[in-house]
Symmetry: C2
Subunit: 425 residues, 2 copies
């Protein structure tokens, strides 16, 4: 089983920053992030993963912290605060020059001794495009075509300056230019001559992650990804997704076992189930209910203003009758069906992870569920999304990891030194 820590702000619950002991005042303090990484490494997790966005959420800045430190710089600092854990940054193929991206990732791979990973995304907001010289985001299909070309170019750049080209022979030559290769790439989106101006790092190519949910996204993951971040509320959705990307990988000639599929996972864990539920309730109680209800109203296309917060969610029309975006609505129906939540509880599930798997209970209960997902073909591992940080990852590492280790489901020591080795052990 493989486990990533997806470190985000003061935690993934949108109200995490409102808690009295919240870390929201420390988001610009690198020692906060170093602590998270060290805890994750103490738990022998595969990697720390950072998402990214290229704009401030101007309207949403009141509702909670979003972006703060930039991820490549953050992960470089984390490389020097840790020894073995992988470091995965998000890079938008829509806004990065592939030469800059390939170079920074190679540099991070050198600095970390072979622990760099790159999660290639295509970005989702026009506000991001407007910070990088475009009036709006290109259409979805064009963004994916661009990402495809982006990945091809960065791979070729990483191959263009092999470490064997460094001779360091004082009597003759420092490098052997005959071993460097140019790309002379001229495509639909990029023109890059190459070679890269940094010798190949320990991993050669940093590990490639993808999180595609759409059809072109799944194809991109199937063609290129070694790690795949997935979204699934329950095992059935997880299995459908995992089998689908594995099929697509096979169809392009890859061994599907090369793909490590990791659904996002929100956990509330404590020594007793009641204590765990209390943690969840405490965070949900901090939700600004009016705003959250308004958000829900938008997702389900219904007036929710008369709903009683502590009553069960009223019956909703079946998926087939819903005319808005189906994905989110389907998830909401499944949350209701599986947890029979009150309105407030539903808002809480959506506020923490927004439709990602949410396990609440004792360490044994959490481990049971994780095992059930892996055994059931829904996951090769998980992308942990702790509702609040640092407590959420401390709890997980101190309580759940030992149970997984006892059961022989998770490593007790790193076997290898690089992120690629972690993902394949």
């Amino acid at each position: 089983m493989h486990i990533n820590l997806f470190a985000f702000a003061a935690g993934h619950h949108t109200s995490a920053w409102r808690a009295p002991d919240s870390s929201s005042g420390r988001l610009g303090d690198i020692t906060y992030w170093e602590h998270l990484a060290r805890v994750a490494e103490r738990g022998r997790l595969d990697a720390v993963f950072l998402a990214d966005g290229q704009s401030a959420d101007l309207d949403g800045v009141g509702s909670g912290p979003l972006w703060f430190l930039e991820p490549v710089t953050t992960l470089t600092a984390l490389a020097r605060a840790t020894e073995r854990i992988g470091l995965v940054t998000t890079i938008s193929a829509s806004f990065w020059s592939p030469f800059h991206a390939a170079r920074m990732l190679a540099s991070l791979d050198h600095i970390s001794g072979g622990r760099a990973g790159i999660n290639v995304v295509t970005s989702m907001n026009d506000s991001e495009a407007r910070n990088h010289g475009m009036p709006a985001l290109p259409p979805h299909a064009e963004r994916y075509a661009r990402a495809e070309e982006f990945i091809s170019v960065i791979n070729r750049l990483w191959d263009s300056f092999p470490s064997a080209a460094v001779l360091d022979d004082a009597s003759t030559r420092w490098g052997d230019s005959a071993r460097l290769s140019t790309l002379d790439h001229s495509g639909d989106f990029f023109a890059v001559a190459g070679p890269l101006n940094i010798p190949a790092p320990p991993q050669g190519r940093p590990v490639l992650f993808q999180a595609g949910a759409s059809d072109p996204g799944r194809n991109l993951a199937a063609r290129h990804a070694e790690g795949v971040y997935a979204v699934a509320w329950d095992l059935e959705m997880a299995r459908e997704y995992r089998l689908d990307v594995r099929r697509r990988a096979e169809a392009v000639g890859r061994d599907p076992d090369e793909l490590v599929v990791m659904p996002g996972l929100v956990t509330y864990v404590a020594r007793t189930e009641e204590e765990a539920r209390e943690k969840q309730r405490a965070l949900n109680a901090l939700l600004p209910v009016a705003d959250a209800l308004k958000g829900l109203s938008y997702f389900i296309d219904q007036d929710t203003s008369g709903w009683e917060l502590d009553a069960p969610v009223p019956a909703l029309p079946p998926l087939a009758e819903f005319t808005g975006p189906a994905g989110r609505y389907a998830t909401i129906l499944r949350i209701i069906e599986s947890t029979h939540p009150t309105v407030r509880e539903l808002l809480g599930y959506l506020a923490a992870g927004g439709g990602h798997a949410t396990f609440v209970g004792t360490p044994e209960q959490i481990a049971d569920e994780m095992q059930r997902w892996v055994d059931g073909g829904g996951a090769d591992g998980f992308n942990l999304m702790p509702p609040s940080l640092p407590a959420g990852i401390e709890d997980f590492v101190d309580l759940v990891i030992p149970v997984l280790q006892e059961r022989g489901l998770f490593r007790t020591e790193y076997a290898g030194a690089t992120l690629r080795e972690h993902l394949s052990d």
Copy 2:
């Protein structure tokens, strides 16, 4: 007096990597760079500065190491290995999106606690342009116009998310969007909506450096720079340059004392003058003479193949009769005039720093010269370019710094915490 360490490869002498004890095998090892930064910090230097280039020198890769680790990632690691010293990266306005650049520098400023600096350059090689989607470098004037707009945009981005916009008030709002400002910039080269997606770092705006030698370069430095890296072989050239940029700064309404002008400085230092000269001779002896002579032949537009290496340089025509690029030729004439070198010695001066001031001698002799330059109006400080590393900076910090400190010319402790404070103390 202000002193930067310009850390480069195995040292600034092109043959440094050929020495038996050279660090050329450690250029991808971050602990090498950390050691350099810690030594510089032990000497209470203002900053570590890294140059940058956006292409591998394909033809020159045999003749010595050029670029290896990428500078922003490197300096981020150095931020965590040091406590007070400034960290100055080079960023090319010709190839960077200003949003990425402003964001990474703000992030580095947070991570380092207010020690980030940015040296804005316009780049010089078509090979760099071809790695970033352009068939060739834009003309000089266009690059400087672009750099001017780039600086304006990054400054506005740094101002767009003031730290006071972070309220972190759990009962109401995390941020106050009314205190954020958009740029809605649409210029000749960039379109950037803003605001930046990172709250303002400790310094507000990271410190801006420039190294312009041309007319537009000097104007850019005069308008925007807080630190200026200069090239001068002797005090007369240094004084001419410094007075000129100060005049230009005054002409645009700035206090010229806001500019810290730092000529590059190559030093060979030892307890005796003879020992120092021996260090210089030892590095010069490693020069691949045929290549170096060919390079000289090109600069002076003469056939040098018959020149005797250990004889004095033959008489050269005066500057007025030279029809090639005048700057480099003038420097060569000045080197000959001031040092009466043998051919091999001239090649050595050009190989280490290529026309930057070169002081050889005891700690007292070096300190005398530095003092003479500062007192003579040629420098507010120096950008140290040790011919070999780490020895060159270790020697300087252990031998020269104590003399400067004894004379009251250099700080014995950092007075402030930020790079901007170092530059103004």
